[in-house]
Symmetry: C2
Subunit: 229 residues, 2 copies
């Protein structure tokens, strides 16, 4: 598959993880969405990332769309360890959590951090770049604590976020945390159960590529790529 | 099924439409989400609406979650006119459009209108109620025009939003437009093709209940319930 992405958008990282978990060969295309490249706008007027193509067909636009597609088309490659469960209510819980981390956590935590601390540094000022807004960063820090407590409650109650097995929900949450962690903004002390759960996901081979991502102008937190942090 | 909803949130209207299209008996429970009822928060910490229960199982939280559930569980009730197509790329397009209208249009148009003009009138000031913010209304009006042009391009190119048949995408878009139309804020003149498409959906029996919704303190626009507007 071909994946148009940006390395510091959590929904893109989620899709990279799930493609790697399915062992699907992927060519990554870096998409500087703020440039509104005409060829990109023409197929994707909302400038939504990620956007994927499979063979000569596509586009598949948006993380949830790619997730459902990959599960429908390639889920059987993971017979016995499919990332979307078969019970309809269990599926609903996985989808709820994926939305939680890729929409709610994204809006309240990941996107403000990444926008203020990474993207605005790279984006020219006429496209919205500039100095970070410290009010937004403060509120993202506050929100991060609430989310860590919620994640703590989930990881304490269950081995994986949606139950007894790894699902798309774990990949979404880990992808979302990982961009925050690059910036050293994850309040790990808030809950030890979250740290243990994240350590397990971070050690999976599918995660490796994310740990070597580098922002052009912002270095990763010292512990970012450590499996034992 | 039991549906916890608010009549002026587009994602809730979308689910009412799709349940009616599947002829699923539904008991509606009005959920004043801003009151953060303890019993509601306990099962739904994000205060997300809609939330559904099917028999004694649930909750199904979020419009996309309920949509996938109903299609998986009851889609065969509509053999030959299923609202989710069978081709995987066609499914991806339906899901993209559902997200477009229930997330993007919602954030840029429907939610500001409804929040400023309906909810803030009903919600006590200590919970965020108050006078509408005219800057937000102005920008929602501006955004509405862009969305009407996009809808116009889609409805001109295809009989239904995602292709040759009615799908969940049409229900999502019509649900989103309907709350804006209640307030008389739909710029119908922007594109006649959109009006013709909306008229067709509005005439479906599933739509009828939405047309008799009344906000407690805000009357509908004069043409709101007219099938010939």
């Amino acid at each position: 598959m071909i994946l148009h992405h940006h390395p510091f958008l959590a929904p893109c990282r989620f899709v990279r993880l799930l493609l790697a978990e399915h062992a699907i060969d992927t060519e990554l295309v870096l998409e500087p969405f703020w440039e509104e490249r005409p060829a990109f706008v023409a197929v994707n007027p909302g400038l939504t990332l990620p956007m994927a193509f499979d063979g000569d067909r596509g586009p598949l636009i948006g993380a949830g769309v790619v997730m459902e597609y990959v599960d429908e088309r390639y889920g059987e490659l993971r017979a016995g360890s499919r990332l979307m469960p078969s019970d309809p209510f269990h599926r609903a819980e996985v989808r709820r959590l994926v939305d939680w981390f890729l929409v709610k956590f994204e809006d309240e935590v990941a996107s403000p951090f990444v926008t203020e601390r990474i993207l605005k540094v790279e984006i020219p000022s006429r496209r919205g770049g500039g100095a970070p807004d410290s009010t937004l960063l403060r509120s993202a820090r506050q929100n991060a604590l609430g989310h860590m407590h919620y994640l703590g409650a989930l990881t304490t109650a269950r081995p994986w976020l949606a139950g007894d097995a790894l699902t798309f929900a774990d990949l979404a949450a880990a992808a979302a945390l990982s961009v925050v962690d690059y910036l050293g903004e994850t309040p790990w002390d808030a809950d030890p159960a979250v740290k243990a759960w994240y350590q397990t996901i971070k050690s999976r081979p599918a995660f490796r590529a994310l740990l070597s991502d580098k922002a052009r102008l912002v270095a990763p937190a010292r512990h970012y790529a450590d499996l034992d942090f």
